[in-house]
Symmetry: C2
Subunit: 678 residues, 2 copies
Amino acid sequence: MNRLFRQFSFPGGIPSHVAPDLPGSIHEGGELGYSLSHAYGAVLDNPDLIVACVIGDGEAETGPLAASWHSNKFIDPRTDGAVLPILHLNGYKIANPTVLARIGDDELNSLLEGYGYRPYLVSGDDPEIVHQQLAATLDRALDDIADIQYEAKAEPDAPRRDWPMIVLRTPKGWTGPHEVDGVLVEGTWRAHQVPLAGVRTSPEHLAQLETWLRSYRPEELFDDEGRPVPRLLDLVPEGDRRMGSNPHANGGLLSRDLKLPDLAEYAAEVPHPGAGPHEPTRTLGRYLRDVMRANEDQRNFRVFGPDETSSNRLEALYEVTGKAWNAGVLPTDEHLAVDGRVMEILSEHTCQGWLEGYLLTGRHGWFSCYEAFVHIVDSMVNQHAKWLKVTSKLPWRRPIPSLNYLLTSHVWRQDHNGFSHQDPGFIDHVVNKKAEVIRVYLPPDTNTLLSTAKHCLASHDYINVIVAGKQPQESWLDQEAAELHCARGLGVWPWASNDDGEPDVVMACAGDVPTLETLAAVTLLREHLPELRIRVVNVVDLMRLQPAAEHPHGLPDPEYDALFTTDKPVIFAYHGYPWLIHRLTYRRAGHENLHVRGYKEEGTTTTPFDMVVRNDLDRFHLAMDVIDRVPGLAQHAVEFRQWLIDQRTRHHAYILEHGDDLPEIRDWHWPVQEGTPS
Amino acid sequence: MNRLFRQFSFPGGIPSHVAPDLPGSIHEGGELGYSLSHAYGAVLDNPDLIVACVIGDGEAETGPLAASWHSNKFIDPRTDGAVLPILHLNGYKIANPTVLARIGDDELNSLLEGYGYRPYLVSGDDPEIVHQQLAATLDRALDDIADIQYEAKAEPDAPRRDWPMIVLRTPKGWTGPHEVDGVLVEGTWRAHQVPLAGVRTSPEHLAQLETWLRSYRPEELFDDEGRPVPRLLDLVPEGDRRMGSNPHANGGLLSRDLKLPDLAEYAAEVPHPGAGPHEPTRTLGRYLRDVMRANEDQRNFRVFGPDETSSNRLEALYEVTGKAWNAGVLPTDEHLAVDGRVMEILSEHTCQGWLEGYLLTGRHGWFSCYEAFVHIVDSMVNQHAKWLKVTSKLPWRRPIPSLNYLLTSHVWRQDHNGFSHQDPGFIDHVVNKKAEVIRVYLPPDTNTLLSTAKHCLASHDYINVIVAGKQPQESWLDQEAAELHCARGLGVWPWASNDDGEPDVVMACAGDVPTLETLAAVTLLREHLPELRIRVVNVVDLMRLQPAAEHPHGLPDPEYDALFTTDKPVIFAYHGYPWLIHRLTYRRAGHENLHVRGYKEEGTTTTPFDMVVRNDLDRFHLAMDVIDRVPGLAQHAVEFRQWLIDQRTRHHAYILEHGDDLPEIRDWHWPVQEGTPS
């Protein structure tokens, strides 16, 4: 039992609302159902930690909770701690009985055994008896855990064993008013609400309240001045042994910064803009591999993803670690390891819950996900953002490592998977949360992705969303230029511009594919309209677009005005839903001159270039937008505009016949020019 | 077997991407994991329908799928059809083995029995043998289903029995290339990808492809002109018996309109603006009750909600139906019924999946949910919206009833639950989807809610989002005025305005609480600045704000300009995140004069009025916004402005001391004036 009190912790176990002033309470556990995945995240790489996780039987009906029981197949009993799930079967939610309380003990046992647990039932309604039963069962469960961990260390090849768990069946509203106004309350769903709603007006209710509260015999618990009596205080453990002071529940206390290798070794060689092709996420994978290696001794970094780490081309990681897996193995399997540090299960909810638990206990993580499917965790992200917002104001709470998303296999390169996989709206979702905690990055190429990733891995208390493609693509900036560009967050690309400080039009872009199309449009415009002065502005850090008063990264107005002008048309090619750019910039001078192209929910299974054509984000349409918006240009450029229309028509005909993009699209390259940086 | 082929249907069983051109294929089943809840939704009130639902073992790892196994506790074997889950254990997802394939048969059986099923295992890798085994097992399973349904009809009180299901264990990539380039493909995760990636360049791959395709002996299957041979065609069932022609998979074919009672009987009596208080959702509950009653013979209406139907005050429904429940029952339970038509489980995912399955098969539904937690189904809504967008272009697909959300217990009245329950961002999420399918309504009072609800229940092929409070509140419009207002979607409220067509300021509002605060601000302004000409515009149909070119409900520019003016300040009090209003109106004339107040992610457990104060949406701040923005007013109204500031300070002090709002806030009423409509 000594071990219990030394190491017991409830990081995920209190299904309360966002209550960051309680160290042991993390987020809304109930309706969202992630207390159990949080608990498992907390014990990863914490071999001496046992987390008792109380799961409400209402919460147990949610999908995220139902999936997370299987987390026990991803735990290494030698190098991770243990979770002791306590399914609290009080039988009711707000207005109904719970499913698990009404399927009978046989089915329930069968279910929990099927999840890989050995359930111990503690059941009753006499507090004295249940208390002793629970204590004895806790002892038994902790012995089981010790036994499993001991055996695993003694016999490394021992198969996975059932972990203990407790089913605690007690009445809802236990020891509260039994009946109110002749209706049963204790032991029914009515106890979920205020049991005595009429204490202000009903003398009977008031009397019942008094009887209820006196039933706890406060005169034995407190002295005359209302202080707990010494007998009680003597029971309280000291220092970090107090549940509320467990440092794992204020993870920043335990957090150690990641050792982050220098980027030079990984940077793509970019002797001129348009060099390559390079594979951004594959390159990043090599960097993440070496981050993993550099922190092997600290054991405080893991990579999470719903079965997509390889698909997202981060598989260099497997050179230094495996995928966590403690279920059956076949000789043909690859990269599975009981102590693997890549966490994969086909449940974004479980990945997110594990990662949050890992971060909240002070460690670092990286979540890669197909862009469209990260919406699955929208509501979990909400709660994490709210928690970060509130805790940042609590002086005793120490910063925790940021929640880092890499969204790849993004909207513009899901041409083969089709419309269901095309959704860039997660950015819109997160920017509704408090500006202090939200960062969104759209690195346009390999070196900017590396620079962004390193920055995010070193940061704290943010939610960082990085969107970057995995397909081979041109690089625009060498390492030094990329780091400077990312440090600024946005900037003019002089090598692509010919405005000499006096642009006729600003062509802005954010995101890899929009950047490509913008640059391709620029080459067309400069060839056909050489007198047109074009400024190209690329945006990596989306939040720089907001006014400085709205976001900590917001660009001061004079800088914004200098970059985008206050009176020239701005054609903005954006990765996501175009109106987000308007939402970020509506207070900026010259907003009426801003014309944004982006994803407008048009897609199907088609060619990559057809995806941009369908959404009018293609080079031809961007060039037309310039012609239509630069005063006086339309009449002069009428033949060129007609040619642009025709290119789109040729495109439609060609893909129908060949099922592939026009050769001049597939083979397009930025023309190497004198004066571009080497 | 005859029954099988007559009634077999796969509405939820093909885990493909959005492929609305296949009648039997519904949405993205895989990563989102709702094939099983879809299937259960399809069989509700379809007693002659059996849906075989193939569940991938990857999909089975997702939370939504894991939760939906328990759907069998919500099925009435007498009045509903049956689902036959087929867990296809091919062992791998994209890059990993699946959990359920690697926990051993004992644990898997235990798990499925715990979910309430009787699993039949069909396993093998010889197609001829597996085919016969599967046919025999299907026979057996259908016999079991018939037996369960027969017994339930014979003995109405018979307890719930285990439903049959099939575990089908076959190799992944079965009958495809066994080895490619010396590496095993068949029976591994590699078969998830393109098995022969090099057919264009590698003669070996091309030869393997030929061998593979020839292994199906096409010469025996097709005649010389490529038509299937008669022997094959003879196997195809005829007419509706063909899987692709099953009318349940094109539910609009079977759909019958709801009989919708007239609203007069339910309307709140509103002799003057500010009458009441009335409870909007409780009143709506009485209407839904009678919709339920009026369609009892059609059995094509159900109400869905995550344990919140009563909490959302729709409980009048229980006067005519119960909550579906086929698990254990205690004497103290209320309103549970095996054939109940209110569907409650504490899983938004399962509710959403059931409802989608019900709608896709042509029936009608209503989903009530706490506003903050509807984000749980963000990704499911995405897929439904995409599906509606694409199917609306397919002439043979018939319209299906709309997906109707009532979001209540909304952001402004979650003062007791706290910050975690405060999130109005679902509106932002849905408006990113295609305008043709999205409708958003913010009825400001009881009668406008009734009118909106009736309109939505009669509509097709939309996603309707209605946001309305459940707390007792003032009514502003009588039934006739409410119906006219809702038909317009927005309009001037003359009884609250004194502009005589020449306003100094437009005070716009959308949502019940913002409307209350706007009207309260108007009374302050009219008392202190009687010469100020104020126009009050209320918006019910949010999409009217968008330009007509952007949304079918978009107001033509001349109408918009007439209502909001092109040159006067507009102070817009909005229910949700304020920038959404800017995103909808940035193309409108006078957008630079628009000043929006809304929820800016400030909240906690506090008083109702403090919620609006924290977000600067309160009457005092709105009045200050008017003073600050009407040219020339600031200097004149300096004392009044100071008084407004002081009221906010008084408020802060008062709630700290009393834990409740100031009496003049709690007891505020719209002053009954001459000239207001009776």
